[in-house]
Symmetry: D2
């Protein structure tokens, strides 16, 4: 538990150092032990032309959550190698929540999955996308 | 040629209607005949903690370019179904350029690939990521 | 429960009609309610040059398991649209087991994930690959 | 030219040492300089229940072609890390041809793409699937 608190504090510092995450208003609400959760308040400037959250915001959140989850089990630096995303439905709601978890942590490559949901005013979650990705462990932390 | 000019003008209008693309400063410089090119000026607020363009900006550009390329060959609406992205190197430069092209246009599903490069001050391009994705053709345009 | 028994019997008939699955010796041990499990006995002719199960056998099992899981929730025909696979470690053991489950069943597109493990002589399972994929629902069953 | 001949001879030896590739009857017709082409004669035992080549044969060919293309530019061993595949149409024809090429060769990770086509009696090619994947460079060759 102490480790997860330390992991979360460290992840919050990293997130605060990412200007793009600050621009989007991303919060990290949980990080540690191979798991990470990011949240973004949905607002108009993050949407596309039909009022849905832009798919690019969803893929950004996936990318970042996958990497934070991997970082929580790695002593070295981590770097997103790649991921695949399948959109399930248009993202509509008040909060986007990205929950990632480590599936397998190898020496040089960590495989994670991430589920992305929108949360309604009443707290109901609806899945909007799922991803699976590979995170590289790097000697010199570059991310 | 006339069609491509019309396609480009239509794509520019759609892009201008995407608040998230306006926030990022995305331009569409070419669109038509199964191809689309987006550009984003690299600036600090789009970066991560090491000064590289955030992977989420790269994946956003891929998502959007794939969909514009598909849209240029579809009479109906198009919607990103999913894509996979492999990052090749950290994105450093003055411009991010996403060039997508249709590989196969089926009746309900259009497969595209997109190459993402950064452009230096002297115009030299360096590949930073590659993607492959599927775009759904929808009866009621929702994107 | 009755439905799952019927689903399994139907899936076993389909599998028996796939010459390639017969060639590989694939069994379906569970199918229904958005889930499917395939098993293949590891034997030398399914291996690559280092004695590991060939990655192509693993990707075949993933493809087929994803589609059987999707088929168990679809009234129409189903057809693999695409998938991504991340290999986790060389596949060594006596049985390859592919367990797939539906993550989201849309009207025309069903998203599934599949975990692939090898099983040892003593029954211990070791994850060797994970996949995520999209299955198309088709009016005329073609698969 | 000499190098490509040597690469092809080496690749043919590796292929002959893969029992699964022998079972499927895979030929390698070109390999070298970041490119590889595999061919498989379509025959009934490689098909699924509707007479199309089984998707698992297509994904096997993709996996193997990606890795041979990567191997042709790597001094070390290579190992498929993962790939994504999008099927374009049912695979019908007399030969399956998988043509892969290196997109970017990093120190530890090589990104490739592969196009899969069926060839008709009259030599006409029809695209049936496209893939993109990552190949790991390993110190101890294990594949």
């Amino acid at each position: 538990m102490g480790d997860e608190t330390a992991d979360l504090a460290r992840a919050q510092r990293v997130l605060a150092e990412q200007p793009f995450s600050v621009l989007l208003g991303t919060r990290i609400t949980e990080c540690g032990d191979g798991s990470a959760t990011l949240e973004i308040d949905v607002r108009e400037e993050l949407c596309q032309q039909h009022g849905f959250l832009h798919g690019g915001v969803v893929s950004y959140a996936a990318d970042n959550a996958l990497t934070f989850a991997a970082g929580s089990v790695s002593a070295g630096g981590v770097l997103t190698a790649g991921f695949s995303i399948d959109y399930v439905r248009p993202a509509v709601g008040t909060i986007l929540r990205a929950h990632a978890r480590v599936i397998n942590a190898g020496r040089s490559r960590i495989i994670c999955r991430c589920d992305l949901s929108t949360v309604d005013h009443d707290g109901a979650e609806r899945l909007c996308a799922v991803t699976q990705g590979a995170i590289s462990v790097v000697e010199t932390p570059t991310r």
